[in-house]
Amino acid sequence: MRSLIQFIIKYNAAFVFVLLQILCIVLIFGFNDYHRSIFINSGNKITGKINDKWQGVFDYVSLREENQSLREENALLNNELQQRRAYQHDFNYFSNYSPFWYVPAKITNISINKIKNYITIDVGTTDGVKNEMALMGPEGVAGIIFRTSENYAVAIPIINTDFLLSVKLAHSKYFGSLSWQGPDHRYAFVSDIPGYVEVQKGDSIFTSGYSAIFPSDLPVGIVDKIEIDKSTSFYNLKIKLFTNFAKLRHVYVIGNKDKDEIKTLEASLND
């Protein structure tokens, strides 16, 4: 026993090193999701507040640019509203009901230079934001809400290797899945589109609406480079994303009132 204690004292540094590294590895790889969630918390009380306050400084600096982009978006939405109105006038039976609702939010923290990037926004459960809601930027899809606290929420943006989204081609309506492998925050990839479909550079990519998270037909990006995987004869499309994550400030959280209903219905199939 005494020699053991002497041994530990003699090599105390090595013991501390091993102990701390084990602790780190536990944190990194996590026993379960809960352990991780304690640390995925750029939205907690202290770190959230600091980021929020500091982001305020940048907001002020970029006010002019921000105004411009909001005006443009306003104009776009107005146009769309007019078209809708005219359309509804003509076809009165067109359903008024939309299950989607929007919460405006501001980004308090965002990273774009990692493999696993996250976005923290300044709305949380008190604003009705829940996990697995959609995050939309002014130009296009941004990410999916992944953790929420009272006043903040953390989202997985497209530019995180864990992100996956069902998308479709504007012209051919074929479906594929969008993912990101890094490192460039301007581009993502779409796979699973069969090679016989006609695809052209510059084709738009929209959300498919098959996930109950995103409404359909939200803009995602345009095709930038077309490659065919010889072994599977599926396309591997490089997509230029509409959302510019380096400049993203204002976003919308999109909730779906019918999501629980859809989920329970789908879950009942598996029983």
């Binding site: 540094a13 090193f17 780190c24 990194i28 990273s111 890094g182 925050h185």
Partner: protein
């Protein structure tokens, strides 16, 4: 006390400024390692590692990377005494000496800082890229980021400790 202040400054500088600077995908600056570099030379290995763990985990809290910065920082603090011994001047370090550029000279500081920064960035960036096929990309990223961090840290030494 002085180190408490340095601890806070390093974290705030990292989180509020350097995490928001972005050049291409290749260069990230991890300024906070300055805290570990500037610990007193006499600091015991274990104490150094515990301090490194705390600054690493604090950065982790801000950046949503549980354990990664902590692990890299602890590794760096583990190597530090060995590197210090290697680079010791002929007549050894004086008692209470600090590992500062203004005391030990620029050549010494750059060698000392570069080896440790390289070790830290290698661990950190490979942990981050774990599980992905980005080996060469990460390799380049480690090198470029190390030079960037070194540059900023040496620069900060000139700005803060002017004679």
């Amino acid at each position: 006390m002085k180190y408490g202040l340095l601890f806070a400054i390093c974290i705030l500088m990292q989180v509020l400024i350097f995490d928001r600077i972005y050049f291409s995908g290749y260069v990230n600056i991890y300024f906070y390692v300055l805290f570990i570099l500037l610990l007193p030379i006499q600091t015991s290995k274990s104490l150094g590692m515990i301090m490194a763990f705390f600054i690493g985990i604090s950065i982790d809290m801000f950046t949503n990377t549980p354990g990664m910065h902590a692990s890299a920082s602890v590794f760096m603090a583990f190597l530090r005494p060995t590197i210090l011994r290697f680079l010791a001047p002929i007549d050894g370090y004086e008692t209470g000496m600090e590992a500062r550029l203004s005391i030990l000279g620029i050549g010494w500081f750059i060698r000392y800082a570069f080896v440790l920064i390289l070790a830290h960035h290698t661990v950190l960036l490979y942990l981050e890229a774990f599980n992905s096929s980005l080996f060469f990309f990460t390799f380049l990223k480690v090198l470029l980021s190390s030079f960037a961090t070194l540059f900023i840290i040496v620069l900060s030494q000139f700005l803060i400790y002017r004679k």
